[in-house]
């Protein structure tokens, strides 16, 4: 297991005091994301890619699309495979090796946001039912970790999928092969998430690393472009019922502001 980061007790106390006054150490509003930067197509050799910054937190996602077999229990659906790695580049607390429980949790959240948020119409990705389908690999790398890795990884993954194109498949003699003609993915929805921390009795959006380590509770809530909740992950700590309701409302607004940033790069995403 990776070691934990040690945040000075002084910083934590300062963050707690500020939170009790509904203020933040970096002067942001409670429901405000840090500066968001999105660049598409940074890996031309991939089928889709994006680099995103949320403040100093940076993630890169790359999409590879291949032919493959469907899952036996889902013969009429393409395959979506999401992999998240917390690169040792990103933090002194990350170590090389197979994904640890934090990386697995983020991968499962990204997967659920995309899958349960119905981002991609997987049924459109079938070539020969039960035999051959498109397989979409989403590989998302956290490369610089300054808090809120979940929203950064979801945003990078979603942006890379929006950037992606797939090659046309030609079936001959019962076997498909991919040709150079390309089309975008069958995108149906645009899920995004906002992560909220509770510090004392105050809820804040998009925590930086120091806030995350100070927080008593953390919850991530995803919405699609029609404001339906499409993912919840309560990662740490406990919440009053009223705080949960409040978190739903705050995250909805935060996501709709984040969506505006996404729309600057992908105008359809809202």
């Amino acid at each position: 297991m990776s070691s934990r980061l040690v945040i000075p007790e002084l910083t934590k106390r300062r963050i707690r005091e500020l939170a009790s006054q509904r203020r933040r150490i970096d002067k942001r509003g409670l429901a405000e994301f840090r500066t968001v930067f999105i660049e598409r197509g940074i890996i031309p050799q991939a089928d889709g890619s994006a680099l995103v910054h949320i403040g100093n937190t940076k993630a890169i996602a790359g999409i590879k699309i291949d032919l493959g077999q469907p899952y036996p229990d889902m013969p009429n659906a393409g395959v979506l495979a999401v992999n998240v790695e917390l690169m040792p580049l990103a933090s002194p607390t990350f170590e090389p090796g197979p994904p640890d429980e934090r990386a697995v949790e983020v991968a499962r959240i990204v997967d659920r946001a995309i899958r349960e948020g119905r981002m991609i119409d997987l049924e459109e990705l079938v070539i020969t039912p039960g035999r051959e389908v498109y397989v979409i690999f989403v590989d998302t790398y956290l490369v610089d970790h300054d808090g809120n890795m979940i929203d950064a990884c979801v945003l990078a993954s979603v942006a890379a999928l929006l950037d992606a194109t797939m090659r046309k498949a030609i079936v001959s003699e019962g076997r498909a092969r991919l040709i150079d003609e390309r089309s975008p993915l069958p995108i149906r929805h645009y899920p995004l998430t906002a992560t909220i921390c509770r510090i004392g009795e105050t809820l804040i959006v998009d925590p930086i690393l120091e806030e995350e380590e100070t927080a008593e509770a953390r919850i991530t809530i995803g919405f699609d472009e029609e404001d339906r909740i499409c993912m919840i992950q309560h990662s740490i700590g406990m919440l009053r019922y009223s705080e949960l309701y409040q978190a739903i409302n705050i995250s909805r607004e935060a996501v709709s502001r984040l969506r505006k940033e996404l729309c600057k790069v992908f105008p359809n995403a809202g």
Binding site: E101, V104, E105, Q233, H234, M238
Partner: protein, 238 residues
Amino acid sequence: MSEFTRRDGRKPDELRPIKMKVGVLDKADGSAYVEQGGTKVLVAVYGPREVHPRHLGLPESAIVRCRYHMAPFSTKERKSPTPTRREIELSKVIKEALASTIMLDLYPRTTIDIFVEVLQADGGTRCAGITAASLALAHAGIPMIDLVSACAVGKWNGRIIVDLTGEEDEECEADMPVALMPSLERVTLIQLNGRLTPDEFLEAFNLAVKACKYIGELQKATLRSYYEKIKEEVLYEQ
């Protein structure tokens, strides 16, 4: 709600039969067994005990570790015993759901290990696991601020329902496991797979609160009768 029926004939807000037992294992410091419909979960707690390797210990509090694991014979198709990503994630969220209820600062430099073994899976295994683990922690005599009670709710065929079976879980539009401390009115776990409007979310959450309250009463009754039996045995031996 009267017309609507579920595959097993239950009403939307009806739980499956629940069986709970504590003290089912000899060697563990605490143990519990919970059956909720076809779901069967066995939990053992060891600790507070020394941490190995030592550098994992914390100077001012105990750590909590948890392994959620499904037996190969617990599922329809045999499951490989190697942990899946789902099992790794659930181990983490169950750990977090329980850790915040334990008075960890009483036991610095120790670990409390929770082993959740799913013997048969028919929906709601993580919730039954949390319910059982909270009982096993109590049985181990580990101080907690309250018992945690858990139950899944979801949306199936357009309706909000409670305590989904495995089949309902596969067919549903949304599935939302919830863990609460009912009397303190605190959520310790909530996850959503699928889509809900904010109104549906509220309806589902309220249903989960109701179910967890009921489960919390069963947990208390289970512990009560366990300790009464022990008291009787002690008196009898005297």
